[in-house]
């Protein structure tokens, strides 16, 4: 190998770096903008705070950065000075000293004091973050594989509850490798709505494995642990849309269960509560109602599109480890209870999750849909009452 000295190697690397940089720069014209309330393009810092706590966290981080930077420059200033000056090639002769109790004490005590100095402002913020008392509104967030459930437990809007899942079109974009949109992987079908300026106590729990509810703009992150309830809180200082993502590995769709919080004015919030309560009343399906096949198919198609299509696909063919429904023995079985059991209880240790949280009508409709779609033509209809009976 040709002997290259240091300067030549350095020059070559520099040339390579420029070529690489130029290539990357031209690629970097990707069509995406900052998402207000969410990630910004090539952001170097924490997301813009929307709560006092997030502001404090950002302050703390900058405080730490400055101190660390100062120490870094001091220590490496000394080190690089030494590297340049105390070289054998410059004729340096090694000194003989190799210990000093005074110096050791000094550079043990000084960092100790600096650490205490850092811990003081941090303590204040820890205590503030933990104080969930006197909240105006209490909301429970339940982590599911793979979506969030929100229930308004106390305060204005009590009784409202819904699921919030990633927009299915965006999930399909991911599979297709064709991402698009400033809110890519952050759009949900049913955002969490809260009033501005009110203290919201957020209770987290989970249905299956550990998830984590995170909202960087609020400075909130709290694990959602099955069998446990934990709480945290936030008070949004301005209206707008804010985005977060699940922050604890929870299985294969971990990247696909975002959080979208809409902060609205008090008046808008009251209006929203009204609308939601009316919707809930209307949606309360009577499980004893007997449905016609076409009605079940229409309803089932909606449920399928909101819930099943991400894994089983629009053509019912699944893919990879996901079983196809089109032509499936369980779906085609004359005994309807077989498929009802799979949908209610899940299968393969949660690889097919349980969907018992859907309503009886929704389950009856979606099973009917699968039994009569694609190449499946069983002519079977499942009534909500049959699902009610199967749950017992």
């Amino acid at each position: 190998m040709k002997m290259m000295n240091f300067t030549e190697v350095g020059r070559r690397l520099g040339q390579l770096g420029i070529v690489l940089g130029a290539t990357l720069a031209t690629r970097m014209a990707m069509a995406v903008n900052d998402l207000p309330g969410g990630p910004a393009v090539n952001e170097l810092d924490l997301q813009t705070p929307a709560t006092k706590i997030a502001t404090e966290q950002q302050w703390l981080h900058n405080f730490m950065l400055v101190i660390c930077m100062v120490i870094f420059l001091a220590v490496f200033g000394v080190m690089f000075y030494s590297i340049i000056k105390h070289r054998k090639s410059k004729g340096a002769v090694p000194a003989n000293f190799h210990e000093s109790v005074k110096v050791e004490i000094a550079w043990t005590v000084a960092p100790f004091i600096i650490v205490i100095f850092m811990a003081l402002p941090a303590t204040k913020v820890v205590v503030a973050m933990k104080d969930t008392t006197n909240s105006d509104l209490t909301i429970k967030a339940t982590g599911y594989q793979w979506k969030w459930g929100y229930d308004y437990i106390k305060g204005e809007g009590e009784g409202i509850g819904f699921l919030s899942a990633l927009d299915t079109a965006q999930r399909e974009m991911s599979d297709a490798g064709k991402p698009e949109g400033d809110n890519y992987l952050l759009k949900v079908d049913h955002p969490l709505v809260v009033p501005v300026g009110k203290k919201v106590r957020l209770i987290t729990t989970a249905n299956d494995v550990i998830h984590s509810w995170a909202m960087p703009a609020f400075g909130v992150k709290q694990d959602a642990i099955p069998g446990f309830v934990r709480d945290t809180w936030f008070r949004a200082e301005r209206t707008g849309d804010f985005y977060g993502q699940c922050s604890e590995l929870c299985g294969k769709e971990h990247a696909y269960m975002p959080i979208h919080v809409k902060v609205v004015s008090a008046a808008d919030y009251s209006a929203w509560v009204d609308v939601e309560k009316k919707k809930l009343a209307a949606l309360a399906d009577d499980p004893s109602k007997v449905w016609k096949l076409e009605e079940l198919m229409a309803r089932g198609e909606k449920v399928y599109g909101a819930t099943c299509v991400a894994c089983h696909k629009g053509d019912g063919k699944g893919g990879g480890p996901i079983k196809p429904l089109d032509g499936s023995a369980v779906v085609l079985d004359a005994d309807k209870l077989k498929q009802v059991a799979v949908v209610l209880n899940g299968q393969n240790n949660g690889a097919m999750p349980s969907w018992k949280q859907l309503s009886d009508t929704e389950i009856a409709a979606v099973i009917t849909y699968t039994k009569n779609s694609w190449s499946n033509k069983t002519g079977q209809a499942v009534q909500p009452a049959e699902v009610v009976a199967a749950r017992k």
Binding site: M3, M30, D45, Q57, H61, V78, S82, W107, T232
Partner: protein, 548 residues
């Protein structure tokens, strides 16, 4: 041919060769190995193989993350890659590599003929082979490899297929191997030092391994407990971690991290020891504050037991818990800082040259310190809430594990490699390896700090498009970094093992006036003969030289 792979090396042997007529040749030499040098070589070759396998997994991850959208793998497989990359690198690459260094160097450095328990040493190594096979081949089991992250949190682990059980078995084997290896190291160091080598005259590498061995014995059984409870939850009807049966998923985290935090110090303390030997050698000046360095290492080890829940700040622990773990974690910065200051003070007013081992050592100090600072930032609980489970954490631990542990291992290889093989590496190629790795490493991992601050979570197969540019940069850096390690193997390590290169002197790092590397390993020829110090040597007052 190099003496590492072949008994007939260069240098002075005299009668030492004849001692082992009847000693096995061919495959028996390796399968029945009881010689600490051979076992050290086995560990190092094993570790490097696992480094390459773990590296391929990393490149699969970075290939997928090169652009947003799924291009190559489905998310299930992606999670398998992230999990196995972690398990293979931690348990298959870094830990065995340091054990390989321990085997090669500890007997040489303390003037002992071999490790205390030579046959148990053999067993410790060979346990790793079925363990590694199980880990790597788990990809081909039904359901694929475990996909719960290297931390294997419950209850997600309860959903994994049979590869989870294979992985648990593999980790038990590796844990047993580590425990036996640690017993060996402690007994060897405490009992077999040459007369005159008191503990406070021992080389720093031996000290750091002595402390690391105690850490290993203390915490590997705890990991064994956590994974066994996972196993019984999965198959034998227990509910340790399963809430449906009254169990507690958070308890898993406590048990795991009680192991996990000392584990990361287990992976860095031997590297500190290597750096503490290289810097004085190339500064031609004794290590500054030897006693302080010993106490600082011991403090770090003890403190490492009381900080584990800083990995759990987001689980919802009460205020007192958060404050205690925050304070304790910040405290570890103090002895770590002391070590860094002592290294710089060793360099100060020395007479330095920058051959490859010193390049790696200085690189280590520089980049590991960056990792230390991000660790301090993560220790602040309010800030950790923002950064937990984001790429900031990924950046932090790769800075301390790659730029820390791995760079330390490379430094040690270039430093002691000539003693092992009898051959000098090419200084130019060493420099290419160093600068290529250092630059590529930073290009890969520095942007991850920004990704984490901006909110990109970890263990994500796909991400919002605002994160695209830094991900692309990281992926490019990763491929260059991987290529540099291949370069190292083909152009540096392999030639040395084959004996191709300039003959290494007995003291490659000592000047004519005696300044430079000190220690008993430099009292034997290069390559080191198969048997060394068969009778305990007589030492000078410093315990650095043999006197006639």
């Amino acid at each position: 041919m190099s003496a590492v792979l072949d008994h007939h090396g260069h240098g002075v042997h005299g009668h030492e060769h004849d001692d082992h007529h009847g000693a096995p040749k061919g495959w028996r030499r390796w399968v029945y190995a009881t010689n600490h040098k051979d076992i050290g070589t086995l560990y190092l070759l094993f570790a490097f193989t696992m480094l390459m396998i773990g590296g391929v997994l990393a490149l699969c991850i970075r290939a997928e993350l090169f652009q947003p959208g799924l291009q190559f793998f489905n998310p299930e497989l992606f999670n398998q890659f992230t999990t196995m990359h972690g398990l293979i690198m931690v348990f298959g690459a870094i830990m065995p590599a340091f054990v390989g260094f321990a085997n090669w160097m500890i007997p040489l450095q303390i003037g002992a003929s071999d490790m205390a328990f030579a046959r148990m040493n053999n067993f410790s190594f060979w346990l790793l082979i079925p363990a590694a096979l199980m880990l790597v081949l788990s990809f081909f089991m039904p359901g694929g490899a475990p996909a719960a992250g290297w931390t294997l949190y419950a209850p997600l682990t309860l959903q994994m297929g049979p590869s989870m059980d294979a992985g648990i078995f593999a980790m038990h084997l590796m844990g047993a191997s580590s425990i036996m290896g640690s017993i060996n190291i402690i007994v060897t160091i405490l009992n077999m030092r040459a007369p005159g080598m008191t503990l406070m005259k021992m080389p720093m590498f031996a000290w750091t391994w002595l402390i690391t061995a105690y850490l290993l014995i203390a915490v590997m059984p705890v990991l064994a407990g956590a994974i066994t409870m996972t196993l019984t939850d999965r198959h034998f009807g227990t509910s340790f971690f399963s809430p449906a049966g009254g169990g507690d998923p958070v308890m898993y985290q406590h048990i795991f991290w009680f192991f996990g935090h000392p584990e990361v110090y287990i992976m860095i303390l031997p590297a500190f020891g290597i750096i503490s030997q290289i810097v004085p050698a190339f500064a031609r000046k004794k290590l500054f504050g030897y006693a302080s360095m010993v106490y600082a290492t011991a403090s770090i080890a003890i403190l490492s037991f009381i900080v584990w829940a800083h990995h759990m700040f987001a689980t919802g622990m009460p205020v007192t818990g958060q404050l205690f773990f925050m304070y304790a974690t910040m405290l570890i910065a103090v002895p770590t800082g002391v070590k860094i200051f002592n290294w710089v003070a060793t360099m100060w007013r020395g007479s330095m040259t920058f051959e490859t081992p010193m390049l790696w050592a200085v690189g280590f100090i520089f980049v590991f310190t960056i990792g230390g600072f991000t660790g301090l930032i993560l220790a602040m609980a309010p800030v950790d809430i923002q950064l937990q489970d984001t790429y900031y954490v990924v950046a932090h631990f790769h800075y301390v594990l790659v730029a820390g542990s791995l760079f330390g291992l490379f430094a040690g290889f270039y430093f002691w490699g000539p003693k092992w093989t009898g051959v000098m590496y090419s200084e130019t190629r060493g420099r290419i390896h160093f600068w290529g790795s250092l630059i590529a490493f930073n290009v890969t991992f520095f942007p991850m700090h920004f990704l984490g601050l901006a909110g990109m979570p970890r263990r994500y197969a796909d991400y919002p498009m605002q994160f695209a540019d830094f991900n692309m940069l990281a992926s490019v850096g990763a491929f260059v970094f991987g290529f540099m390690q291949l370069y190292f193997f083909v152009f540096v390590a392999l030639p040395m093992m084959r004996g191709q290169g300039a003959t290494a002197p007995q003291r490659p790092w000592t000047d004519a006036d005696g300044k430079g590397a000190e220690g008993l390993e430099w009292e034997v020829p290069s390559p080191a003969p198969f048997h060394t110090f068969e009778t305990p040597p007589k030492l000078n007052a410093d315990a650095t030289r043999i006197v006639a």
